[in-house]
């Protein structure tokens, strides 16, 4: 076994595009999917805008047997997985059932489904709670439903580490490929733009309260005031490189390096863990900082967190030492879906030799970042670093590389 793990298929459900092609066209053009919330009445809440996936009608894509038992989050994930497998040219039903597995990340579970059933429990009683509540709301449901739909019974699981989880899932998928699995479907899709999900996100105190979609999410800008949340994400198909080559698959790129660290307790004087995660991921890929062509930033848009990320990047790459971008300014932060979507964007940047822009942001020069703003930048991208942080101290970093 060659040990290299490659991406052979991608499926995207993003606020600025349903499907990888639409997402990438919008992202290249700097077209945002952020706007006023339509999925519930948000007038009475301090934050009222989000990145919602447009034009998704579940009935057009999924059988009614599945509609009855799934949250919106799972419906989006099932569609993304269908597309990723089709893109990879893989029909799991034709593989031995234990050769293929599913490992996704989740950060909230099926909140909208859960909210409805809790409402029923509270107002009508336990007999009115759906039997499907037993799984429709919980973290592992996307993994379970994708696995059942495609008969993939190999190593499977779910990773829960907020936004960092999207990279942690891909890393776990790589481990299983290295252990001999033929195909792992991985990534993350989250969707909890409902009143229950919204108050849970508000409680974290990091949401923007601006009502202007173009001014609400401004990472690395002096005007940064929190983020806009979004729904959606990406599902990727990972395979062993040699096996993928031998079946003639198209390779988007290699998952070449990964590391995760945890921040120390606050106020203890020890440095945050992000820099170490980046350095360890580079070591894992056997690459030096100067080998990295672009960084897809976590982009929290909370000044203290922006500073921590900028300092980590400057420490590793030098001031303005590497192009940095945050296309998530066009989608909002997608929790477990954000980093897999950034990985897809990184792979397409490698394919198309260009870096998509960070929109709306006027970078605060004090951060010392070479932020790609306004329009895409042409660049011969061979390697990309994707960074993701989860609330509570999670730091993860992934290096993707052009497949030679």
């Amino acid at each position: 076994m060659g040990q290299a793990t490659v991406v052979t298929g991608v499926g995207v459900t993003a606020p600025n595009g349903l499907g990888a092609k639409e997402y990438w066209a919008a992202t290249r053009a700097g077209r945002s999917g952020i706007g006023p919330i339509t999925r519930f009445t948000a007038d009475g809440y301090p934050s009222r805008i989000a990145g919602e996936v447009p034009g998704f009608v579940a009935e057009e894509h999924l059988p009614s047997r599945l509609i009855a038992q799934t949250d919106r989050m799972t419906r989006l994930a099932l569609l993304a997985a269908d597309w990723a497998l089709a893109d990879a040219g893989i029909t799991p039903e034709e593989l031995p059932e234990f050769d293929a597995g599913v490992i996704t990340a989740s950060s909230s579970g099926g909140f909208e489904f859960g909210e409805r059933e809790l409402r029923n429990l509270w107002s009508k009683g336990g007999a009115h709670v759906s039997a499907y509540q037993s799984f429709a709301w919980f973290y592992a449901v996307n993994t379970g439903q994708i696995s059942i739909r495609h008969g993939m019974r190999g190593p499977s699981g779910v990773v829960v580490s907020d936004q960092a989880g999207g990279l942690d899932a891909l890393a776990q998928a790589r481990r299983q490929i290295r252990k001999g699995s033929r195909v792992i479907v991985s990534g993350g899709v989250d969707a909890s733009i409902c009143s229950w999900g919204w108050v849970a996100q508000l409680a974290a105190g990091r949401l923007s309260t601006s009502d202007d979609p173009e001014r609400a999410y401004l990472p690395f800008d002096a005007a940064a005031g929190g983020h806009v949340p979004g729904e959606g994400g990406a599902i990727l198909v990972l395979e062993d490189a040699e096996a993928a080559r031998s079946r003639g698959a198209r390779l988007y790129g290699e998952l070449a390096g990964y590391a995760a660290t945890f921040d120390p307790a606050p106020h203890g004087g020890r440095p945050p863990g992000l820099r170490r995660a980046i350095e360890l991921a580079l070591d894992d890929a056997r690459l030096a900082p100067e080998d990295i062509d672009v960084v897809f930033a976590d982009a929290a848009a909370v000044p203290e967190l922006d500073r921590a990320e900028a300092e980590a990047l400057s420490a590793v790459f030098g001031p303005r030492g590497v192009p940095v971008t945050a296309p998530k300014t066009m989608t909002g932060r997608l929790h477990s879906g954000a980093a897999p979507l950034d990985v897809v964007a990184a792979l397409l940047s490698i394919r198309d030799r260009m870096i998509p822009p960070t929109v709306n942001v006027s970078p605060d020069q004090a951060y010392g970042l070479d932020l790609v703003t306004g329009r895409p930048r042409s660049a011969d991208v061979h390697t990309a670093l994707v960074v993701a942080r989860g609330q509570g101290g999670f730091n993860s970093a992934v290096v993707v590389r052009r497949a030679e």
Partner: protein, 89 residues
């Protein structure tokens, strides 16, 4: 107690909303004696469906009964038996 009998059309309607319509089966045809398994409804789908029937028709279907209810016909019989049974008072 509901005043009308529990019919196959009631069951189809409730299956539709509770568990969705199976694929590759003539759901509108005669399914009275087709096993729920063959229709694509697993135990959880039946549990959800029976919950709806219980609420709408004010009957009770216990778990033991559910495990031996293998076709629409047996489920109809079970529910209608409760609907016509004289009340204990």
């Amino acid at each position: 107690m509901s005043t009308h009998a529990f019919t196959i059309d009631d069951l189809k309607r409730i299956l539709h909303t509770s568990a969705g319509v199976p694929e590759g089966v003539d759901f509108d045809g005669d399914i009275l004696d087709t096993a729920f398994d063959s229709l694509g409804y697993e135990s959880l789908a039946l549990l959800e469906t029976c919950g709806s029937i219980e609420r709408e028709f004010k009957v009770s279907i216990d778990d033991d009964t559910l495990t031996i209810t293998d076709t629409p016909r047996t489920l109809l019989r079970l529910v209608n038996h409760q609907l016509v049974a004289p009340s204990a008072s």
